[in-house]
Structures are given as C-alpha cells and as structure tokens.
C-alpha cells in the first residue's frame, strides 16, 4: 500500500506542492486509524515483551527473559506442535474441500446460486455461534447429532471433544467446515476466468478428467490458489476462536494452541509481558511464512 502512495509524491518533485499533499490528505483518515488502532498497539506489544509488566508499580526491564521463559515452557512447545498440526491440516483440508466445492458448484443455474449461498453461510456466521453449534453436534452421547448418526450403524458414542487423542482432529474438522466455503469463493472466481476454449480443446483431444484438472484447471487457477494459500498460512497460525469456544484448550491441554496459551498467560495468569513475547514470536513466524509463500509464488510466476 505504501509503495503506491509514495510514487506520485516522488514524481511531483521534492517541493511540497498542493498536488503532492492532497493524496496524503485523502489517505490521512485511513493512516490515522491504522496508526491509532494497529501500529501503535503493535509497537507497544513489542515494547512490553521486554518487561515484567506491572502498570501500577512500574514496569521492569527484564530483557529477553520473557522470550526464554515462553520458548522453554514445555506447555508452550506442545502448543506450537498443536498449532502446526491444526494450522496445516485445517488449511489444506479447507483448500481441498473448497476446490471440490468450487468445481461442483461452478455455473450459472439458479439452483446453483441457492446452493452456493447455503454453502457459504458458515463463513459469515460468528465463530462463537459455530462453536456452540458444533459442541451440540459433537455431544458425546447418542443424543448428539453426529453420534446419533453413528448409532444407526451400531457405532459410538464417540467422545469427540473429551478424548485427548481426538479433540484436535474434531477441532480441525470444524475449522475445515468454516473455511472451505471461503476458499471456494476465491477459487470459483479463478475458475470463472479459465478460458472455455481450453476445455473444448482438451475435450477434443480426449483427455481424462484427471488430466483435465492437472493440465488445464490447476494451472489456470494458480493465482487464486496462491492467494488462498497465503491467507491460510497467516490464519492457520493465529487460530484462536475455534479452539477457545470449542474446547478451551482442553482436555489435558491436548488442543492448546499458540494463541490460547498466550491468552491464558496474559489474562488468567496476568503475565502480560510473557503474553506479549509469545505474540511477538508468532508475528515473526507469520511474517517469515508469508514472505516465504510469496517468494515461492513469485518464483513460480517467473517460471
């Protein structure tokens, strides 16, 4: 965003002309809001991560202590593992399902429009509501929706959320359900841009469905997929609400992720410094991941 802003100003010479000021004025509201609500709190978070935070007794500079404490805490290390499993599983699952949904629901028919809207609903529903819904669906007796279904086949009841070996996967399933439609929309936009004549040509060459996907569809929706991947990489690591509303990190910490651990540190144990340090580490990792994904994308584009 900043790059596009500075160009016209630079072109207008170094003098402060009206022409150079006006765009800035237009940008001012947005920048001001971003400064007050985004960059300032962010900078403060980074600053606090070096302190033992006690607002009313005076913060104490403790250097990197918060970082060592957070990174050597075994519960945090477990949480990082869970975050990776959940983030990667949820992202890939949601992209795959989104892709399948997009292929199935692409088209102009009115019925498809209706189904598309229905399918998109999870993405616009508040995550807290979705969490409550899934708690009911996962209810661990044969009264629960999923367990009553299993019951028909003589299976269950399965302890979806109370079994520490299953809870993370149950959370992942909900995450995929939430995010797949979101990806679907982006991929569908990509699909709409695929040149139809390519399909026709492929059909004349007598390709199989798999070959058509591999050599026509996938290359054509590369840009859409890379957007979806970038978004997923960012979202995957900072997953919080899904876990918080569904399991609260339990049972036995088996679904504890990076952000729920940071939240517990900050607000249950009143260790704001430690929570800030944890968040800063997450910020750095996310940044790194985004840059890496972007690099791969650019390299791919050049090729």
């Amino acid at each position: 965003m900043t790059a596009t802003v500075t160009t016209p100003a630079a072109r207008g010479g170094r003098r402060l002309t009206k022409k150079s000021v006006v765009p800035w004025l237009f940008l001012a509201p947005g920048l001001l809001l971003a400064l007050v609500f985004k960059f300032w709190p962010m900078a403060k978070g980074v600053w606090l991560s070096f302190f033992d935070v006690r607002p009313f007794l005076g913060d104490q500079w403790i250097g990197l202590d918060n970082y060592t404490r957070v990174l050597t805490d075994h519960r945090f290390q477990e949480a990082i593992g869970h975050t990776l499993v959940l983030g990667i599983g949820q992202s890939l699952g949601a992209i795959l399902l989104g892709f399948v949904l997009a292929l199935l629901l692409e088209g102009q028919a009115r019925s498809l429009k209706f189904v598309r809207t229905a399918v998109f609903l999870p993405a616009v529903t508040a995550t807290a509501v979705v969490g409550e819904l899934w708690r009911l669906m996962y209810y661990p007796t044969s009264d629960g929706l999923i367990n009553s279904g299993l019951n028909l086949f003589g299976l269950g009841p399965v302890q979806f959320l109370d079994n520490p070996d299953l809870a993370l996967w149950s959370t992942m399933a909900m995450g995929i359900w939430i995010w797949a439609p979101y990806n679907m929309v982006i991929i569908m936009a990509g699909l709409a841009g695929v040149d139809r004549s390519l399909y026709e040509a492929a059909a004349m060459d007598g390709v199989s469905l798999r070959q058509r996907l591999r050599y026509v569809t996938l290359p054509a929706i590369r840009p859409a997929l890379s957007i979806v991947l970038t978004l997923a990489a960012i979202r995957g690591l900072r997953v919080f609400t899904e876990v918080y509303v569904l399991t609260g990190g339990g049972p036995a910490g088996s679904t504890e992720v990076w952000m729920t651990r940071a939240y517990t540190l900050g607000f249950t144990r009143n260790d704001i410094g430690g929570a800030s340090a944890a968040s800063v580490v997450l910020l750095c990792v996310t940044l790194l991941l985004t840059v890496t994904v972007n690099n791969f994308r650019k390299r791919g584009d050049v090729r």
Partner: protein, 441 residues
Amino acid sequence: MGDRRRSRRLAAVLVVTGLACATAACGAGSDSAGGDPNTLEVWTRSNPDSAATYERVFDAFTKKTGIKIDYQPVVNFDQQLQSRASTKDLPDVMINDTALMGSYQSQGLLKAIDPDAIEGHDQIAAKSWSSTVGIDGKHYGIPYSRQAMTLMIRKDWLRKLGLQAPTTWQEMLSVAKAFATRDPDGDGKADTYGMVVPGSAQNGYVAWWGAGFLWQGGTNIVEPDGKGTYKPDMDSPAAVNTVTWMKDNLFCGDNAVTQPGALTAVTSTATNFQDGNAGMYMTGPYNIVTFDQALGKDAYEVVPAPAGPAGGDALAEGENIYFGAKTGKAKQEQALAAFLVSAEGQKLAMTGGNQPVVRIPVNSTLDAATVHDDARWSVVQKAYEDASRQFPNAPDFAPIKQDTADSLNAIFTYCEGDVRSQLKELNETLAGDLKDQDLLK
C-alpha cells in the same frame, strides 16, 4: 472545473480534520467520567440478571447521597481490567471475587483500606475482615458477600429410588451410580447422570470445583506456615489418595457418574442439572434462583457437602469491594462501601426477584434465611460458618489455581496415568509459582 476541484479539496480537508477531531475526542472521552468527583465508576462481574440487582442498589445509594454511579457490569472482568490497567485508569470501585485480591494487590491495582474509615465496619465479623488482609498486613478489600459451596440434589429422584441425601463420599458415589443407572426420571431411557462437574482447566474451573474434595481428603493446595510463607502440599499421601479416589470413581470409573463432556465443561456449559438430566451439583448458592425457575423449588434440596476422610470443609468464597489505585475519590468510595455493607444495602442486594448479589450477608445484624425468606439459605450460612475454607487471600492465587487445574484436568483425562508422579510434577510447578512471588517456605 477548477471550482469543483477546489471544493473537493476543501471537502477532503474537512473530512480529515473531522476524523482527527473525532479520534482525539474519543481518546479524551474515556476518562471524562473520571473527572467528575461526584460520579463513581463501579465495575462488577455480572450477567444482565445480577446487574439488575446491582442497579437497584446503586439507585438507592444515589438517591440517598447524591453521588452518581457510572455502573458497568462486565462479564469478562479480568480481561477488561487488564486492558484498563494498561491505560493506568482504573474504575473507582470494583466488586469481584475474594480469591482475586492477592492477584490484584500484587499488581498494585488496589488502594489499601483502613477498616475504621468505613462507617459500620464493626457490623462485619472479624473472620470476614481477616480474609481481606494482604501480604503486607494491610487490608485491601471490604467484605461484601460470602457463601460456601453446597450440594444441590434432586429430591424427587431420591424419593423415587428410596434413597437418602448423601453425607459421605461413599454415599455420594452410590447415589450418583443409582441416578445414572436406575432411571430416576422414569422415561425408560438411560439418559440421566449422577452429578455435574465443570471439569475444564479453562479459568481454573476444575481446581475451583475440586478444592473442596482436596480439603475433605486432608490435603491443601498450598499450606501456610503461619509466618507469611507457603509450602505446596500436592504430593502428600493424602493428596495422592484423594486425587486417585476422584479419578477412579468420578472420571475413570463407571460411565455416567458425571455428565458427558465433563472434562471440557465450564460452568456456563455444565447445564445438565438445570436441564433435568443430572441429579447432583456441587456449586454455589447463587444458582438457587436459576434452579428454582428451571426445576421448581420442590424438585431439589440443598444439603451440606458430603464429608471425606478428613471432614466436610467446602469451598468458601464471595465478593469483596475493592478501591482502584490512584483514583482520588476516597470520600465518595468510602460512602459507597459503607452503604453496600449496611443492613439496608445488603438487604436490597439479597432481594428483589433477580439473582441476589449478596448471598450470605457480611453484615452480622442480618440472617440469610430470614432476608431471603427461604430456609435453604440457612444450610448455606451454616456451611459457610462451620465447615468451609477459602483459598488463601494474600498470595497471587491465580497461577496456583491455573496450574492445579491444568494438572487435575490432565490426571482425570488420562486414566492410565500415574497419579503420584503427575502430582509430584504439579508440586514442583506450584513451588515455582510461590518462588516467583517470594513466598516459598
């Protein structure tokens, strides 16, 4: 054309200035209430129902003294308080859990209180006052409401199965099993459970619920040595026996002794008792109003906590009135506190159709059962006075509670685990928590 461009520019400038002013005004607006010496900002941790009771109390106070109250019921109190603390602008008066006093005080959020400066301080029992003494020997809170956990149990189910309300752990267990297996609601389906447990580690719930069991089993989470320091006590034989009993019988034993999903349940999701499919719930008396509405007064009774091998002490807790640090309205705050603990203020908070916010009055001229006009409250009062214990109020108990909850939740989840080594690990963690506060013996 030139005109239009100029007017556009003018518009842009106006928009930007307007926005900037609005943002600045917003920033200034938040502490404008702090400026008026005759308005107190008061926070309580309340849902809308109990907030309605507080509103009535504060209205009466304003009518009497002319001091206005800017009342904020806050559900996620501690999260909000942390954000407010970071701006160094605290509410003037807060009413919140007794167990949080040490935590607030260690962060410097509270003003020290001289009991003598509060009118009517002599009507509060010495036992209650002693529970507001901080680590440095000064008072940091004014007692407001007290309670002890009691056992809520389905009377009609007991009658149907020909059982008595339990008085010991063993009896409680057999009642729970009977409730789970002998179809007490008579619908021919196995859809009832023995007891409700908020067993999640979130916010330390399982430690809060389980504290009574630990005391009844003869252990303490941290043991005071009387000289202001503490020793963790979770690896003692009594602790191992108690936690093993809980694990084997309540969580890893027969199905349906506890409600399904107990290990991820917090109080707001553990609704099986009021939904009518679980028979017992060890909880605080603030739920009485809710249960009366959901089940009916005749459907259940309130009995003291069943006793374990070392007695029947249940968890006592309650709310204190706290004064935010650096607010500079001491006179008005003291006037509000005096009204809140007066017989009039306490009575208002105990009656009126919504959830009562004073359960057992701290004002010794009042009797809970008489004011609530309900004999069940005398069970709670008796439990509080004779068979209850509080979490230690001086240390910052939040990390201790959270670590205990994390450990208990894990022990109850992994049935094949070794309780002794898990508790040993917990004990080391607790020692670390105490050491962080320079309180380890």
